[in-house]
Amino acid sequence: MGEAIVITSGKGGVGKTTTSANIGTALALQGKKVCLVDTDIGLRNLDVVMGLENRIIYDLVDVVDGRCKIHQALVKDKRFDGLLYLLPAAQTVDKNAVTVDQMKKLMDELKQDYDYIIIDCPAGIEQGYKNAVAGADKAIVVTTPEVSAVRDADRIIGLLEKEKHMEAPKLIVNRIRNHMMKNGDMLDLDEITEHLSIGLIGIVADDDEVIRASNHGEPIALNPNSKASIAYRNIARRILGESIPLQPLEEANKGMFGRIKKFFGVR
C-alpha cells in the first residue's frame, strides 16, 4: 500500500507543478514506483513539464466517469523502466467535474499499485484544492521567499491542519536567491520557518536550468549536475526517510573559481 502526497501552495506560480514533476522523477530514480496525478483540471500542464503531452489518450475525468480503466489513462514515462506514470488532468471540463468522493476512491485504487502518488494541486482553495487534498495522506507546501507566497502558504497550512486524515504538512522553500536573502531583500529561511512553524523538507535555489529543462519536457532532476536537481533528489530521499542535511546555499554561488579551488581541495 503506497502513500499519496499532495503538493500544494495556495498561491499560483510558486512552482507546484515543477516540484511535483521533480519529486516524482527523483523518487523513480530511487527505484520507487511512482504515479503523478495532475488535478489542475482545465489547466493541465504537468504533462508538458514531463514531456508526455503527445501521448495522452484518456484523462482523470474519463477515469472517474467510467469512460475508461485507470491503466488506459495512465501515461508511461519511457525514461523509467515502468516506474513512473502520469495521470493527466482533463482539459475540456472544469474543476467541478470531479467530486471529493471520486478522488478518494481513485487514490485508494492507485495506492494498491504504486509506492508513491504525487498529486499536483491547483492554485487556490476552492473545489480543485479540496479534490487534490481529499485522497492524500501527506502534504508538502511549496512557497517562495516572498511575503505574498508565505501569507498564502500560511492560509493553506491552516486548512491542511483541519484535515484529520493527514499528517502535519512539510515545507519546501523554492526559488531562493541567495544574494537577495543576504541583502534582506527576500525573507530569509529562519524567518519563513519560524513564521509557518512546520518542518522544512527542502530548499531549492533559483536556477535558470529548471526553466530550460521544463521547457524541454525533461525534469531537472534527471540532470545530475544541477544544484536544483540535487535539491530535489535530496527531498525525495528525505521523503523516503533518510536524514540529509540541507544543502548550504553559499556553495552554489562560489562560481567557477570556487569550483576550481574545491577541486584542488583549497579552502
Binding site: 501569507r151 498564502d152 500560511d154 492560509r155 497550512i157 491552516g158 486548512l159 491542519e161 513564521h195 512553524s197
Partner: protein, 226 residues
C-alpha cells in the same frame, strides 16, 4: 386560618425594600402587591420619586415578569423600581456567566484566514499570524507573537487588555476602539512583553506589560493569600 403575608414592605437604610414571598403563585403575588400599594397611595402626595428594591427570594422572574412588576409598581404614583434581586438564575445564564469568566487555553497557531473566538479570557500558547484573528469577551494573552488582529472585550468591556510576548499586531480592538498599526514599522523594534489597553482619552495605548499591575488590579483572580 391566618393568611400569610406575601408582600412585606421594609424600610432599610438603603431605602424601601419590598420583600416578595417565593412560595405563592405569581398571580397571587401580583394581586396582593396591587392591593398593598393601592392602600398606601392616599398618604403619599409628595412629588419626588421613591426608589424601591424588590427582593424576590428563590423565585425566578422572567424578563417579561420583571417589566410587569416594574410597571405595576410604577403605576403607584411615586414609587419606582430600582433593582430586582433574585437568588436564582437559569442554567443558561449560569453557563454564560461561567464562560465569560473562564480563561480558555488554546495551544495552536492562528494562521491567515482563521478566526478564534472565546467568550471569556483567551490564553493562546502560539502565534497569531498576519491575517489571523483572535476575539475574546475578556482579555487576550498571547504567549507567542501577535502579528494578526486581536479584539478583546468584544461584548462591551472597556477594561479588557491585550498582552503578547511579541506585540506586532496588524490591528487591535478593545470593545469598540480600534487601533491600526503604523504603515511602516522599524524592523529593529522588538516589542517584547507588551500590553494594550484603553487609556483615559479613550485611545488604545501600548505599553510595557508591568503597567497593568497598577492599571488593572482586577486582573488578579487570586483571593486571600499574600
Amino acid at each position: 386560618m391566618k393568611k400569610r403575608q406575601n408582600v412585606t414592605i421594609k424600610g432599610t437604610k438603603d431605602g424601601l425594600v419590598l420583600r416578595l414571598d417565593d412560595s405563592c403563585s405569581y398571580d397571587e403575588l401580583k394581586r396582593e402587591l396591587d392591593q398593598k400599594l393601592s392602600a398606601n397611595t392616599r398618604t403619599q402626595d409628595e412629588r419626588h420619586l421613591i426608589s424601591v428594591k424588590l427582593e424576590v427570594g428563590n423565585r425566578y422572574v422572567t424578563e417579561e415578569q420583571r417589566d410587569e412588576l416594574k410597571e405595576l409598581i410604577r403605576q403607584k404614583k411615586n414609587l419606582v423600581v430600582d433593582d430586582i434581586v433574585s437568588n436564582v438564575i437559569t442554567r443558561e445564564e449560569a453557563d454564560q456567566l461561567r464562560a465569560e469568566n473562564e480563561v480558555v487555553t488554546v495551544s495552536k497557531i492562528i494562521r491567515s484566514g482563521q478566526i478564534l473566538r472565546v467568550p471569556g479570557d483567551l490564553l493562546l500558547i502560539g502565534d497569531v499570524n498576519p491575517g489571523g484573528t483572535v476575539i475574546a469577551g475578556g482579555n487576550i494573552f498571547v504567549m507567542g507573537a501577535l502579528k494578526g488582529i486581536a479584539h478583546a472585550g468584544c461584548y462591551g468591556n472597556d477594561q479588557a487588555v491585550i498582552a503578547a510576548s511579541s506585540m506586532k499586531p496588524s490591528q487591535l480592538m478593545i470593545n469598540e476602539v480600534r487601533n491600526q498599526a503604523p504603515d511602516i514599522i522599524p524592523v529593529d523594534e522588538k516589542h517584547e512583553m507588551e500590553c494594550a489597553y484603553i487609556d483615559e482619552d479613550h485611545q488604545i495605548k501600548i505599553d510595557r506589560l508591568q503597567v497593568l499591575i497598577q492599571l488593572r488590579p482586577d486582573l488578579t483572580r487570586l483571593e486571600g493569600g499574600h
